[in-house]
Amino acid sequence: MSVTVREIEFKDAPARLAQAAPSASAQQAGSAGTPQGIEDLQSEKMVLNMGPSHPATHGVLRILLELDGEIITKATPDVGYLHRGDEKIAENMTYTQFIPYTDRLDYLAPLANNVAYALAVEKLLGIDKALPERCQYIRVICCELARISAHLLGLGAFAMDVGAMTVFLHTFQEREKIYNLAESLTGARFTTTYTRIGGVSRDLPPGWVEQCRKFLDEVVVNFDESEKLLTRNRIFVDRTRDIGVIPKEVAIDFGLTGPNLRGSGVDFDMRKAHPYLVYDRMQFDVPIGSVGDCYDRYLVRMEEMRQSVRILRQCLDQLPGGPVNVPDGKVRLPEKERVLTKMEELIHHFILVTQGVNAPPGEVYFGAENPKGELGFYINSRGGGTPYRLKIRAPSFVNLSILSWLLPKHLMSDTVSILGSLDFVMGESDR
């Protein structure tokens, strides 16, 4: 016997009211002594304050839910509890100084944020196509490792929220290895600050490629295990299938990006549509969903991780030698030895550190395919080393705006599935 949650028929509030009205009037006609309380019970709404500190809101999201029994009639998301004014801060420092702040946007994928930001500034400088090959490959490796890490967490937390605790422990085991890789690459586990304008802070350490290969071999086993625990798990399927359905048109209308958009069946990936770095040389598939429910979004993320492994393997195989930074000393800090011995490099170093890279006046927008969706930076420059205005187009912020449309008519308990499947990060949403 298969009973999915959605098979429990429930109508929207006006239809229920219309149904209740004739029977109430019939009752009144029949007997004058009908208890008055029934009608009141049916129409009374309860407001439930979910968050800002709630395990399913993954951070500090607050949702005001108006409930009719167990059914949500109105949802008002409230964001901003983690607002730090990153855009204001960016206006008051050089382009390079802002890189550490990008770690703290989507703090589950700091490496990918670093790359996206560096590429946006490089687009403004006009050097995004002139990056050394090795730098581009390393950046792709960073992006894909970050994607696996972010999806593993999203998946683990999603599964745990709907009751499958084991998956969380499985995925965190693998994330630990990614953090170890990040630590040996950048010196930090979370706040990586790895990229620089025109390059990366350091080359791959010796033996890192082998470590990474070993990790890739191990992580695919883990994907299989997690998938066995979830994909055909009755409880998981019942709680996610046909829940939180976002049709294609609505997803586009609300500006969803990333796995949430692809889960709704839109075949769009920035890495394919507008390949940056060396993504045009990589062979990978873009998974898309068919229905647009929570289950589809889960499947899309699961497959994206496998594709990331594919990309990573190709990168590690093709990884060329050579420099990792642009040779221009006016963009990227020169070698330390040369700074200490040569006048030219000393001047470059001084100017870069004190005033920053000399960007031309103009405005650019660059969007990168991050784990959560399209992370975009709009930079308005009036020349000099500081952005006049830097706007961060945060995918989580935009993805969350659909909640007030998506949540009504769902059961209260479905909120947890929907939030888990949207996979947002408040650090990025609130900036």
């Binding site: 901003g80 607002h83 855009e87 008051n92 586009i252 005033q355 969007g367 009036r382």
Partner: protein, 221 residues
């Protein structure tokens, strides 16, 4: 169809209303001369030109210029995969322009954010409230005349802080200053002519006074 073709199609339809298109780093930008007609232009972009995805709306405060604000729309179409930027100026007096929430529903939160951060109102927006700051916060923090260190509010220890340690200092670059060749580092004064330094000095004086008066909000600020 490329962004350039789409832009020229838009120009041929609206004529004098639009100026441009200009190109920078492969991106095409059109300026809508009359902010009141932005909704009309956007609706045309979506319906006729296939820009079904509104990537982002940002706002720029051109402090000291008239008109003071610029609202920037980033458009994208999944069909033709072209990106187009629309810009329109909003004056400080009116500080208002029509909403585009009825064109793309995603504009809802973007417009709320701009209202919250810059104080630009969107006429016809269904629910124009603050989004990142709390309801009742009195300022618009992304305006250029709002100091980096914050301003005092009724919540003294929460809503304002000390000046940032390097703000206005000799090694902090100010946006829109001279380019590197023009500002030879050894001869450069720490931007003494800029408003920022003056306001910094004033503010630090006010903070000293505020210390004396212990949480007494200074009316000058």
């Amino acid at each position: 169809m490329s962004a350039q073709e789409l832009a020229s199609k838009l120009v041929s339809n609206f004529g004098d209303l639009l100026s441009g298109p200009t190109e920078f780093r492969g991106e095409w930008t059109l300026v809508v001369r009359d902010a009141e007609r932005i909704q009309e232009v956007c609706a045309y972009c979506r319906k006729e030109l296939g820009f079904d995805y509104l990537v982002d709306i940002s706002s720029v405060d051109n402090y000291g210029d008239d008109p003071r604000f610029t609202v920037v729309y980033e458009l994208y179409g999944y069909g033709h995969r072209a990106h187009l930027r629309l810009k329109t100026d909003v004056s400080e007096e009116g500080c208002e322009l029509p909403t585009v929430t009825n064109v793309w529903r995603t504009a809802d939160w973007h417009e709320r954010e701009i209202y919250d951060m810059m104080g630009i109102r969107f006429r016809g927006h269904p629910d124009l409230r603050r989004i990142l700051m709390w309801e009742g916060y009195p300022y618009f923090p992304l305006r250029k005349d709002f100091p980096l260190s914050g301003k005092p509010t009724e919540l003294p220890e929460v809503a304002f802080t000390r000046p940032a340690p390097l703000e206005g200092g000799p090694f902090v670059t100010v946006s829109g200053g001279k380019d590197t060749i023009a500002r030879e580092p050894r001869a450069r004064l720490p931007e003494t002519d800029s408003l920022q330094t003056i306001s910094r000095l004033e503010r630090s004086r006010d903070f000293d006074r505020a210390d004396e008066q212990k949480n007494n909000i200074n009316p000058k600020q």
